[in-house]
């Protein structure tokens, strides 16, 4: 059965949330909020988990559009979007190939760096390399090359899961183990001290534009999982209280990353503004969080926009998009 749609009412929208990734809980919260916001615009919305019943349901009654609110693997590595492509179902967000690139932090960093975007120096190593060469020698080389402090994170993950700031060499082995608990490859990068900011980028078909820059100030100084998802434990300032030129640079970098990586509809770049006012690009999220404590909804609100309307416009754009574009 072919989905029916019109310019005003695209038809039934399916919000996918949950899944089996480590970020299932966050995803469910994002999905709930996005669904409610879309319902507020009058759209018919179905929330759905990703399980063995999904594919038959999509085939039997394809929705007009899917909004993937799946965080972490499957949701952000392009896998679920490949399935949607197979079924010719429109969806909000980047294509599978772009997701694969953007979700892999080392690959995305390399592409960004090649395009002239400033990103912390880093290296990327599978854990087998430490086993084969001996951990001590490799760790020593890492510190010699990148210095201290370092940020160690899984190559593919979100919500700061498996991330550790390393101040002393003695902390490095445990940080590596922490990262490898979430995946076989770790990214070890120079830790840039400074103001942490997030910049959402949206494109409703008229070209990418950045939303207000969000400054993130966690009570404990580290924007880890607890700081991200415990209401009250982080102070957000929107727009960030930075010099106008710095804000403009943040905006420029976020849009540049969005374009360089080939993203579409929506992304969120995470940046650091160091003490000299230099902007460092850390990573991009192809399915950024929409929980009650997430930065994108804050930025949308600060822009004077309605969350539901913004996503509904992205839905309209996705529905209007030619297949396989």
């Amino acid at each position: 059965m072919a989905p029916t749609s019109s310019a005003a009412d695209p038809g039934r929208v399916m919000v996918l949330a949950g899944g089996l990734s480590h970020e299932r809980d966050v995803s469910l919260r994002s999905g709930r909020r996005v669904s409610e916001a879309l319902r507020g615009t009058g759209l018919a919305v179905e929330e759905r988990d990703v399980d063995a019943t999904l594919l038959p349901a999509l085939m039997a009654e394809p929705p007009a559009c899917v909004v993937p609110m799946l965080h972490g693997e499957t949701g952000e590595d392009g896998a679920i979007r490949e399935v949607l492509e197979l079924l010719d179902i429109p969806y909000v967000g980047a294509t599978p190939a772009v997701c694969r690139t953007a979700f892999d932090k080392p690959v995305a960093k390399a592409l960004a760096e090649h395009a002239g975007i400033r990103t912390p120096r880093s290296t990327c190593l599978p854990h087998e390399m430490f086993r084969e060469l001996g951990a001590a020698a490799v760790l020593e080389s890492l510190v010699a090359k990148l210095g201290l402090p370092l940020m160690v994170k899984p190559a593919q993950s979100g919500s700061a899961l498996g991330c550790t700031v390393v101040h002393n060499v003695s902390e490095l082995p445990s940080a590596m183990v922490n990262a490898y608990a979430y995946g076989p490859v770790a990214l070890i990068e120079q830790f840039i001290a400074g103001d942490e900011v997030a910049v959402p980028v949206i494109d409703d078909g008229t070209g990418p534009r950045a939303l207000p820059v969000v400054a993130i100030m966690p009570d404990g100084g580290v924007y880890d999982y607890t700081a991200r998802y415990t209401a009250g434990s982080t102070e957000f300032v929107v727009p960030a209280q930075l010099p106008e030129a710095t804000l403009e640079e943040c905006t420029r970098v976020a849009i540049a990353a969005h374009e360089v990586l080939g993203l579409r509809d929506l992304s969120r770049s995470d940046l650091i503004v160091d003490a000299d006012g230099q902007v460092w690009w850390l990573e991009v999220n192809v399915a950024p969080g929409f929980t009650e404590t997430s930065t994108v909804p804050l930025s949308i609100q600060a822009a004077g926009l309605d969350l539901g309307k913004v996503i509904a416009e992205l839905v309209q754009a996705a529905v209007a998009r030619p297949a396989h574009s």
């Binding site: 089996l20 979430y182 415990t230 010099p243």
Partner: protein
């Protein structure tokens, strides 16, 4: 930084307008990576050896359904009305009959019905503990009780256990050290039978000694006994309360012997304490749920509940055997575990250097879940152990879960061999409130 243009005027928010108004006791009530991982464990693809949900698949639902239908038809207006703060008198009489199985002679007047025995732990702590008071607990101890003690800002001091349960000398030392530090001990919280999470049982030989230590030190004993009737190969063991009426508050529950959804437990307390428990109960809930109490009372009256418990015991024994056999078959020799003689849990000690909390993401990726040992300590210990529950999954799923766990462990050991024994700094600093909510039973 050189500012060449004015800074923007942003609006600040913490996304919680009550952030400055919460009580100090909410400190630690935060989101955690570990709790987030348990959200995945609820999916059917994951073999969850984490939660302690009783397996009630064997309950005669037709019998229960008829009993509840009759209850509504015959006593509906009473069953759906407020009731006594102390609980339904007929049920309290029946509770005394249940407790006789463990050698307890009690009067129904001294029983206070509670919303599960979890609420009994809460009420006892509420009436005894001021902030800073000390509760002595076994090491490890029940995560739900630790949460209550933390909420009342009581300090937990752990005393070691071995295969025979709480070690008397460890209890003496804990009492002496606490008092030497000038702190007030309010009670000993103990789970003598088929311990959650340790799986061990306090030996008959030690029971008088533990009671004597507490009597001499003038310390109340809070005996939490939800699993006492679920021994696999033996008659119920006489409760501590059976030989000590004044110094023991005994907590019981129908959650494991019938069904947890009714939320009915009880406290048997010395008369003066009982008075305060009833007042505290009235303050907390007005009364325990009348409908649940009357439904359980009807079940006890009309059904072979002892036969049902025998069925539960046999089911759990089969699952215990499946788990122990799988552990023997799949796990490396450097792991150690106990063979519980009842209850729901195996306590597994991991090979040296393995951190149970740090390993959990890898386990969830491999579609198996457990509870890291740190959840059962108030002081951050327990990283080298995990609790495995065999109560809920089928024997086949238990075997598959242990097989997956063995694979995870093998990868983790390889990683540790590469990097050496470590404790991730970001995880080591956290403790408490990390267990899945289904363990609060």
């Amino acid at each position: 930084m050189n500012e060449v243009t004015p800074r923007s005027q942003g609006s600040s928010t913490r996304l919680d307008s009550y952030v400055d108004r919460y009580a100090a006791r909410t400190q630690g009530m935060t989101a955690s990576e570990i709790r987030a991982l348990f959200a995945v464990a609820s999916r059917p693809e994951v073999v969850s050896l984490a939660g302690g949900m009783p397996n009630i698949s064997g309950l005669p639902l037709d019998v229960v359904g008829r009993a509840i239908g009759d209850l509504i038809a015959e006593q509906g207006p009473t069953a759906m009305q407020y009731g006594s703060g102390q609980g339904v008198p007929e049920l309290r009489e029946q509770i005394c009959e249940v407790m006789k199985l463990e050698g307890i002679s009690a009067h129904a007047d001294d029983v206070t019905v509670t919303v599960g025995s979890q609420q009994a732990v809460d009420l006892v702590t509420r009436i005894f503990c001021d902030p800073g008071d000390v509760v002595i607990c076994e090491a490890p101890s029940y995560v739900g009780a630790l949460g209550v003690f933390k909420a009342y800002q009581a300090e937990v001091v752990h005393a070691e256990m071995d295969k025979d349960g709480l070690v008397p000398d460890a209890l003496r030392q804990a009492i002496a050290a606490t008092r030497a530090a000038g702190k007030r001990i309010k009670f000993l919280y103990t789970i003598p039978n088929f311990h959650n999470p340790a799986g061990v049982t306090l030996s008959a030989a030690r029971r008088p000694e533990i009671l004597e230590i507490c009597r001499e030190a003038d310390i109340l004993v809070l005996e939490d006994n939800p699993y006492g009737l679920l021994g696999f190969d033996q008659e119920p063991i006489p409760a501590l309360r059976a030989s000590e009426a004044e110094g023991v508050i005994y907590l019981g529950s129908f959650s494991k012997t019938f069904a947890p959804g009714f939320r009915v437990g009880w406290a048997l307390a010395p008369h003066a304490v009982r008075e305060k428990l009833v007042l505290a109960q009235e303050s907390a809930t007005l009364c325990p749920p009348q409908f649940s109490q009357m439904a359980i009372s009807a079940y006890l009256t009309n059904h072979d509940w002892l036969g049902q418990i025998k069925h539960f015991r046999e089911m759990y024994r089969e699952r215990r055997d499946a788990m122990v056999d799988a552990l023997e078959a799949y796990l490396p020799k450097s792991c150690q575990w106990n063979v519980p003689e009842g209850g729901f849990y195996v306590w597994l000690t991991l090979p040296p250097g393995i951190d149970a909390k740090a390993m959990l993401p890898r386990a969830v990726t491999a579609r198996v879940a457990y509870v890291p040992g740190t959840a059962f300590f108030a002081d951050g210990f327990g990283s080298g152990s995990i609790r495995l529950s065999y109560c809920y999954p089928t024997p086949e799923r238990i075997r598959e879960g242990v097989r997956r766990l063995a694979g995870v462990l093998e990868q983790e050991m390889e990683l540790r061999a590469t990097f050496g024994a470590t404790t991730p700094p970001s995880l080591a600093a956290r403790s408490g409130y990390d267990a899945p909510s289904t363990d609060i039973n």
